[in-house]
Subunit: 417 residues, 2 copies
């Protein structure tokens, strides 16, 4: 009965060292978001396949771990497809469960509803460095608030959190899905092809403007519209205040002017009410993959660490599609695993910890002596310390070295004399 | 694309109210156990089916949610059995993953290794009141400590935790698997039939001594051994100090005398070093279901609430069976969901919370005014308060009532005047 000691392919165990940091960060996330009035909720890790395959999950829907039907429902002999074998799966994000949760509990929930979720999600991605098939997501969402108050609150709360974690000088990129459409319209592209254009625009940071222009041509966009796009891009790139420049370009577009004013207001509020030094930057090249976004979109860049560490946006139509009643919604997801990796790489230590103490007991100490130590330890714990009472092992040096490396600053050896 | 708004059959969503209590309790659990030197670890919720079906899980092995193979590995046409379709499943407890974790990371772990795990487990039980197919378990285990120091530490830490949660006067039932065997031997039962006897003995609290005696007879135990068992039971029941009485009965059994001395020492240490009022009671009728226990076993009874709220024991042979190297082990699992239910039923409120404050903003307040409020809120949050900034909705009375019920003791309405 040999055990397979490895975790399932693509998944991983969390070491004690990492776990301490994760617990600290989760605690800080909960405290911070709760202090803004976000309410933690939790849903099962399993959802019905019908919900998971609702076309809101994009490519993630191809990566679902499906759970075998049980008992009489499972008919292996006559099964032809995966759907004959499975009617539930592991969630690939926290948004589908949130919307289901809202549908089920709507009437008892505060309006607007500010939700906080932290938990594992599952994607059967090809295993690769730093990417795992089970990982934590951390989302906050506001359901039922249609104004920019939602975006402002989400961004303020998240920047406050990052500040508490010691990050400074990060950049919040912001754009608006409707401005992307206005830009495409300005370029003379057809509405039916907007999404195609956005898929190409999204590659700007990888293939540059030349690459984007080339791909637009290859994808059959008219020479005129491609030229217009090139002009628009270069104007915005050169502009000192791109949002102002865009406003001038789109001066004929009444609706777009409104979106721009809202973005300006969000940027101003977030920067001025923030408790930490960072930048909110209008980024006309920001697209965000998911097609369900309907308004402002954002992405968090930790300047010193290259990659994006979170993102989100407004998705006013998704809840309605599910529950048949329009509910405006807006959310942001922070890249929890990315943050932990960065903190670990930096050698992050948890602040304000009382020094840990260990009592090493000689073998065969009399019971009274052991009891005395246990009572003393209990008192010291009441004062907030971590106090380990443990038997001495043969290799005492090894044991003491290891305890030191675990942060036991004080080690007292107890002998019978 | 209508959504199924219910959670998967047998699983449930956690409401905001319950979630606050769960977060509080999890935090307290982690703080308390950490203060005794337990180290949190985490493993994936999925394990290989080989590990889950290792015969250590008893009946739980019949309740596994199996996860469908993916890609080329899945051959629906030729599949005959569930094992052809699935090679992984959701864990049904935290013990199998702990042992696998230990096998994989042994060389980097402290000796002894004191592990703390809190997380969801899954069992496809028949849905019934108060029992769900996804629920949290909370385990502490000590691996690599063969002496009673382990039992004492587990029980002290757990009683300290229960005290912090406001429970008092609970009872820790304690027995020893080896004493059960000594009792069966004293009755003249054959070693090969000990486990059969224990299954019947375990029913004492449900069917009483008469029922147990009847079932032993029905199961073919000799009249002599059944009579002996009856005598032993009645002697222990009548005894003021059952452990002493058992010691006298088993006076010829050298080994049993040692086990009894150890139990006495554990009981004495736990009671005397404890920081909370409760009872440790030797209970010769305690059996515990799992056959993997090898030494002391315990069960936690919250006297005022009827049912067991946790249990555990020593299982010195399980790790060896898996990893081929003997490692003594001992653990206790507290009934997390049971504790939460009791606390909710009692109307538990989280102690020492700063009063929550809400700002209700009139629609169309000027930006400067909103900004001023946001800055004020940020300052108040720094002082540790929860401060909500939200737009006034049309039904202001409803909104205020709801905020009050969520614990917002102070609600300030902000108008443009």
């Amino acid at each position: 009965m040999a055990l397979n000691k490895n975790p399932i392919t693509g998944m991983r165990d969390i070491t004690p060292q990492e776990m301490l940091i994760r617990d600290y960060v989760i605690d800080l996330i909960k405290k911070t978001y709760k202090s803004f009035g976000y309410t933690p909720i939790e849903t099962p890790v399993m959802e019905s396949l019908g919900n998971l395959l609702s076309k809101q999950g994009g490519d993630n829907e191809k990566l679902i771990f499906k759970v075998l039907k049980r008992g009489e429902k499972l008919k292996i002999d006559s099964a032809k497809t995966e759907e004959d074998l499975a009617d539930a799966g592991l969630r690939y994000d926290l948004t589908v469960p949130l919307v289901r949760y809202y549908a089920a509990h709507n009437s008892e929930l505060p309006k607007p509803f500010k939700a906080l979720q932290i938990g594992p999600v599952f994607r059967a991605d090809r295993p690769q460095k730093g990417r795992f098939r089970q990982f934590y997501q951390c989302d906050i969402d506001i359901l039922g608030e249609g104004t920019k108050a939602a975006e402002t609150d989400l961004l303020l709360a998240t920047s406050t959190l990052l500040g508490k974690l010691g990050f400074e000088g990060f950049v919040l990129h912001i754009n608006d899905r409707r401005l992307l459409k206005a830009m495409a319209a300005w370029c003379g592209m057809e509405a039916s092809r907007f999404d195609d254009a956005f898929i190409t625009w999204d590659k700007m940071d990888k293939i540059g403007l030349d690459g984007v222009v080339k791909e637009l041509r290859e994808n059959g966009f008219s020479e005129e519209s491609v030229k217009a796009y090139e002009e628009l891009s270069m104007t915005l790139q050169r502009a000192e205040m791109p949002l102002k420049a865009l406003s001038e370009l789109l001066s004929a577009d009444e609706a777009a002017q409104g979106y721009i004013r809202d973005l300006e207001a969000i940027v101003a509020s977030v920067e001025q009410a923030a408790t930490v030094r960072f930048e909110v930057r209008f980024d006309p090249t920001l697209v965000r993959g998911m097609s369900y976004y309907t308004g402002p979109i954002f992405e968090l860049e930790l300047a010193d660490f290259g990659s994006a560490a979170g993102g989100g946006g407004r998705y006013d139509e998704m809840v309605g599609k599910f529950i048949g009643q329009q509910v405006p919604a807006c959310g942001i997801s922070i890249g929890f695993e990315r943050l932990i990796t960065i903190l670990m790489d930096q050698g992050f230590t948890i602040p304000d910890q009382a020094a840990k103490k260990a009592y090493l007991l000689e073998k065969n100490l009399p019971e009274e002596k052991v009891l005395e130590i246990r009572k003393k330890a209990a008192e010291e714990r009441l004062a907030g310390r971590t106090v380990l009472v443990t038997n001495m092992i043969k290799n005492k040096k090894f044991q003491k070295d290891q305890l030191s490396s675990e942060g036991y600053a004080e080690i007292e050896e107890i002998y019978n004399r």
